[in-house]
Symmetry: C2
Subunit: 457 residues, 2 copies
């Protein structure tokens, strides 16, 4: 009984000390985040007052001002706007219709970066392929004078990995069709939804092929064309307009929660501020902006900041590409001080796993991470993070270790890059689960001395 | 043992007799329908080869030919095309955008029958109402020079009864807004979905109010306007074009499975062939056409037809109104022989209940109906059918008893009257459950002598 009493006494003494331990602070942050309203407020404000944010548009310029004001209002420090050159592709009027066997207005959207059609449009008979592989198997010359239509579906997965296979057709399909003689390229939207709304996304023309106009079809539209083509010839008329501003610019915007011990050591997180144009970019990626900004702000409100500096970057050109490279170029000299990086860019649905740099869980300072994240139903993967996000890819390639909080992407590609990417699609409860995970994890990483760089400076 | 042997012998003898009982035939029809492919074939063919079928368009004229050919190919008899006058409203180019606080392209669709805007459009500040009741509570003159926006959501229900309350704003809202001075009327789509795609549907102008242009907004668009209006003034520009052909016509098309005993007694079933224009009218109502045509065809293939005649009517103007009245006018003399009527017009999801005319289950010839429908998980309601369908409303009001097979409408209003009403939304398994129920029920009704008319002729 004396022994038990002694333990009790020790526990009572130990409690205040334990409360200051990083894991306890992280747990308190986690719990606070679950009922915090900041992420939703940030998300609602960006999607409501700014709207679509395609690089080169007035919307993106408004977003830049919004980003600076948001960081300022929330008390972030060392706020920076880093401008970089980014030729801007801007969508014009777009339409397509079946002209035979009967007239039918199709639901389409031009792929990002597509060349326009002539003003009078392009009208031709279609050749339908049930997969991208079938298009690749078609001989050179077999599509001369035709419009190629690829109707490859996308598989729904929790990880989102179906995007890779389906996205390949979008990125490379136009040039592959052109090499075979096609006048234009149409594809089933890279989408897991059955909505008529089409999904855009960037395409890349090869150097060795004619640049042909390219658009995505609503999923049911692609199916209709395939069913009609099984009965006889189908003709389609496509009209796409767009302009490109070769002198366009974009901006990476950042704000910090300064470290209390080693402020020169920086952890970079964030989401991307730019979006595609048909929706208001709520899941892609106002959510990432809201989650990481709110998590950092919660940490900034602590009486003691963690040792390292947390920098939130609102990336300026993820969809059109280039923010990652621009950031790396501008921060080459700072590289030895960037200890870790990650991006939130897969919507706002529940996080289910954390992936850290290799051997991270051997670090004593991170030992309690599993325990802190377990109530959020997040496990710590035994595999190292393969990827930190498109906007930190430059940093990753330059040797910065990355981590990733894996989100449930099951319904992400129902909405992604379409007019349906709007605020109402975000579940506030799941959004806050994201904030809770980011806040807890970030605090522990920023307060630790764990260093995963191959060659610490 | 001798007794058991006797019973066995009696059963063996009795079996062929029992097999000829209506309930057994109905059960066999039911089971055959579950694996039959005709309904899907009809549905796929109509939505693929004809497409949208708005009254007054070439699509509806093609649908008429399709209907006659389909009845002919399937061996229906007494095929009729009954033309009636139907002024045709035809949609033109439509667009709307927020012009302030920042430009944003809205997703809209004009309400059926709306007057056009002037060619240069209408631009004005909006007044947002969170419910239709709030609009009705606004004083006369309070909307002068404004665009009224009603953002009343629709409740999802299995029965579909949320449509009544939400649909009221669509039918009467434009005139009520006009009475209060509004220049134009915009409303949240009558929809249970969160898609940007807007849902159309007919509106009716009152005689005592100016006719103002009227359109439905995508659900997220209506929410965005409400959120922006909470922050400050919102201006919208609306452009709607349309034409009306006062000399338009429509057609009710019918075909029969002739009765074997009392062929002059007719049961009228069917779906409507016309559709709204943005989709291909798969759930509304190619499904009803497919279900009732396939069910009747299965009965027509029996070695012995049921006693009464089954007439399938492909109604020609449900969405624009008028087929019910036209049919009643053309068939007034036949009324004493029309013993029952019903329409399939709520998509193709699972039937969960049958409602019959009052006291129907007291009829000995229908006693086994519950048993026949039970394997399909359909119960027979103790309440009488209140409604047989919009296209048999004229017959119902003239005294023809109606029945209804109630379908699960939980997801029907996600798609109804929108561009998303396409073939891929129909579940073939549930479609066939519908066919099974219709075939089994119809056989029993048509082979019985049950008569529910207040005053049988």
């Amino acid at each position: 009984m004396r022994r038990a009493a002694l333990i009790t006494a020790l526990l009572l003494i130990a409690t205040p000390v334990l409360a200051a331990e990083p894991a306890d602070t992280a747990a308190a942050l986690r719990d606070k985040a679950l009922t915090d309203t900041l992420a939703w407020t940030v998300l609602e404000d960006l999607t409501t007052t700014v709207g679509p944010r395609l690089v080169g548009t007035p919307g993106m310029a408004r977003a830049k001002d919004w980003g600076v004001k948001t960081f300022t209002d929330l008390g972030f420090t060392n706020i920076k706007v880093e401008e970089f050159a980014k030729p801007a592709w801007i969508r014009g009027a777009e339409s397509a219709s079946i002209t035979g066997p009967y007239p039918f207005q199709l639901s389409i959207i031009g792929l990002g970066g597509t060349v326009p059609t002539p003003a009078k449009g392009i009208e031709a008979e279609v050749v339908v392929f049930k997969s991208y592989a079938a298009l690749l198997a078609a001989p050179v010359g077999s599509l001369t004078g035709k419009i190629a239509v690829v109707n490859q579906p996308m598989t729904r997965t929790q990880t989102g990995e179906g995007y890779g296979a389906a996205g390949l057709a979008r990125r490379s399909g136009p040039s592959e069709a052109a090499k075979r003689g096609a006048l234009a390229f149409l594809m089933r939207s890279v989408s897991t939804s059955d909505s008529r709304l089409a999904h855009t996304g960037g395409t890349r023309y090869a150097e060795d092929a004619p640049k042909i106009p390219s658009a995505a079809l609503g999923v049911p539209d692609a199916d209709l064309i395939e069913r009609l083509a099984a009965r006889g010839p189908v003709r389609i008329k496509l009209s796409l307009a767009s302009t490109t501003d070769p002198k366009g610019v974009a901006w990476n915007i950042s704000g910090e929660i300064a470290g209390s011990g080693k402020p020169e050591e920086v952890i970079i997180i964030g989401g991307h501020l730019d979006s595609w144009d048909p929706g208001t970019g709520a899941i892609d990626d106002a959510s990432g902006i809201a989650i990481t900004t709110a998590a950092a702000k919660l940490i900034g409100d602590l009486p003691r900041h963690p040792r390292r500096t947390i920098r939130v970057v609102m990336w300026g050109s993820e969809e059109s590409g280039g923010s990652s490279e621009a950031y790396l170029a501008a921060h080459k000299d700072e590289l030895p001080n960037i200890v870790m990086a990650s991006e939130s860019d897969l919507g706002a649905d529940r996080i289910y796993a954390l992936m850290l740099p290799k051997d991270a869980m051997k670090q004593p300072s991170l030992a309690e991470l599993s325990t802190v994240l377990a109530p959020l139903k997040i496990f710590v993967s035994r595999d190292p993070a393969p990827f930190g996000g498109a906007d930190v890819e430059g940093l990753q390639e330059a040797g910065v270790p990355v981590f990733t909080l894996r989100q449930d992407a099951s319904r992400y590609f129902d909405l992604h890059h379409s007019a349906d990417d709007t605020l109402d699609k975000v579940d506030p409860v799941q959004l806050n689960q994201n904030v809770a995970a980011w806040a807890a994890l970030l605090f522990m990483l920023a307060d630790s001395d764990a260093d995963f760089r191959a060659k610490a400076p």
